[in-house]
Amino acid sequence: MDAQIVVSILISVCVASTPLLLAATGELVVERSGVLNLGVEGMMIIGAVAGFSVAQITGNPYIGALVAIGAGAVFSLLFAFLTLSLVTNQVATGLALTILGLGLSGMIGEGFVGQPGIKMTPIDIPILSDLPLVGKLLFGQDAIFYTSLILVGLVSWFLFRTRAGLMLRSVGDNAKSAHALGIPVIRIRYMAVMFGGACSGLAGAHLSLVYVPQWVEGMTAGRGWIALALVVFASWRPARLLVGAYLFGAVTIAQFHAQALGISIPAQFLTSLPYLATIIVLVIIARNRRMTMINTPASLGQPFVPDR
């Protein structure tokens, strides 16, 4: 195969992987603090519609992306208030967030259906992006792509090298003990949930400003759920998310190229591939129980009410 084609395929893999990586990175921090937010899909689609509509109105995709980040964070507050202040069931509340997000985005985005979007233009780093082959791949992509990679590094550094990260992990491991030591459990969890919301919002903006770029109702198409699966796959370690997200990105892209290569499998089966892959990956991960048990934040999904 032509090297140029390989590079363009690799670039498309990057584009498909970026939203998964972003949303999963955010959720990883949330889960490390002991909170299970199943509303990733809902926060993503809110980010997608917010980013798209603001970009259309202002004509600037960067403002759109920033608003998407804010919208994701604000939307996640709803979940935080219910689960952290009112100790509602985290699974049910996460589902509610997804259902509401899908509904709300449909209403907000109704006027934007079918409009041609504004694509975020790639940042060409001078000279480097002109390098043969790898130039465009490594130095000629959009800002959100770079953000996603930097974010993984930052999150990894934050969790394992800073005191604040240590506090966040301690809250996820044992909220009661953390509270007894005077660590502000609820405040830390609020911040973690909002960080997750912001990441999901940006992931959604990537879909509507880079990947597609258009507003299509329900355009997240289960990516939020795949991001949740990726966190399990990565056993709550940021670096492993990179592997997982790019693996899934590659599977997604494979379906397009399988058709191009003339492999005669019905399109519907190819579309099912990422979902099927998710199930298979979850089974493989779950079989290694020891690893899952050691890495799972021990208080994940457990309600916590501080006594006074």
Binding site: A96, I183, G222, L228, F269, V283, V305
Partner: protein, 360 residues
């Protein structure tokens, strides 16, 4: 001001009954605000949404028609949720149930028999149950997260049914539209009232509600469901098996979703097409919680959610309000139901921050 919760010694039966009503009231208040912001007269909008459909016999029948699958699916989900099994793939089980039930009329289009309908219904239930058995088996055997697997299977089911109705099952005389041949007379569920839209599935829904209510509230099996959901470790001490319960709850829930699917296919569409997936499996989650996971409550909750669908259609025609507002209403309702449930187990206190001290 800081909000904090004080655990009640015993749960409050008052708030247990009141919480869905409170949640509905909050949703209406929120709806008023939303319609005002959209520049629609809120009184008129809420009337169109929630009262007008009840004044018209045709619309009431539409509500019953719409409520039927919601109720059937939600009852199954209530058993799952009560037992701590998060089946959120009911949409897929509904689709596969509809597809499974359609096998006989698709392949033996001319087959006529009084036994045909029962066979189709049973096939639908088997299909839904088999599809639900996948996440159940994976959870029981490998400890795989059932939330994610059951949801992923929805997408797979959608693609699979889509492929069937556009590919091997497509009616050659269908002018290229996706969908199977229309079923013959004996494969169609009878109407509730002559020449109406609502079909016999409603009777199934009522019977199932009574049966499952009896099971949950009167029998040892129901006790087992609640114990394992509330406290798995105590359940194990009682001699109940979490794994068997996972299988049981998913199979039951899948079978009911499958029944809803084939009832819809046979009673309403009268063939299998590409428009079967309308999100009932997800709306049923709201129905289940609004009905407080109680089958009799779910009967009422299903009608309320169906009312919001029909009201939404009316509001679109009468007031040019987007019927997407319906989905927002439904999402909000679930939020308020969950929030109000807190009152059942906790008293909420507001404290000024100077007195609160503490670190939480």
């Amino acid at each position: 001001m800081i909000l904090f919760l004080e655990k009640r010694a015993n749960y409050s039966p008052l708030f247990s009954a009141l919480s869905p009503v409170l949640a509905l009231a909050f949703t209406l208040v929120f709806g008023t605000i939303m319609f005002s912001m959209l520049g629609v007269d809120p009184a008129k909008a809420l009337y169109t949404y929630f009262v007008f459909p009840l004044t018209d016999a045709y619309l009431i029948e539409q509500i019953i028609l719409k409520a039927t699958p919601l109720i059937l699916i939600a009852i199954g989900l209530s058993v799952c949720f009560r037992s701590g099994n998060w089946n959120i793939g009911a949409e897929g089980q509904y689709l596969i149930g509809g597809m499974f039930g359609a096998i006989i009329p698709v392949y033996f289009n001319d087959f006529q028999s009084p036994l045909l309908l029962p066979m189709m219904m049973i096939m639908g239930m088997i299909g839904g149950a088999l599809f639900a058995a996948i996440p159940a088996f994976l959870k029981a055997r490998f400890g795989t997260n059932e939330i994610l697997t059951s949801l992923m299977l929805v997408y797979i089911a959608q693609q699979f049914v889509d492929w069937l109705v556009r590919g091997p099952w497509r009616d050659p005389q269908g002018m290229g539209f996706p969908g199977t041949k229309s079923f013959n007379e004996s494969a169609i569920l009878p109407e509730l009232i002559p020449n109406g839209d609502a079909h016999f599935g409603t009777v199934f829904a009522v019977l199932v509600a009574i049966g499952v209510w009896f099971m949950l509230s009167k029998t040892l099996k129901g006790f087992e469901v609640t114990v394992l959901g509330e406290c798995p470790r105590a359940g194990r001490f009682a001699g109940f098996s979490t794994k068997q319960m996972t299988i049981f709850a998913f199979l039951l829930s899948g079978a009911l979703a499958g029944l809803a699917g084939i009832a819809e296919v046979s009673g309403s569409v009268e063939k299998l097409d590409d428009k079967l997936s309308l999100g009932y499996g997800f709306t049923a989650i709201i129905v289940a919680f609004l009905g407080r996971l109680n089958p009799l409550g779910i009967l009422v909750a299903g009608l309320i959610l169906a009312l919001s669908y029909i009201g939404g259609e009316e509001a679109k025609i009468a007031l040019q309000v987007s019927n997407r507002a319906t989905n927002v209403f439904q999402g909000l309702l679930l939020f308020f139901v969950l929030a109000c449930d807190t009152l059942i187990h906790y008293r909420i206190r507001l404290v000024t921050s100077s007195k609160a001290g503490g670190t939480g």
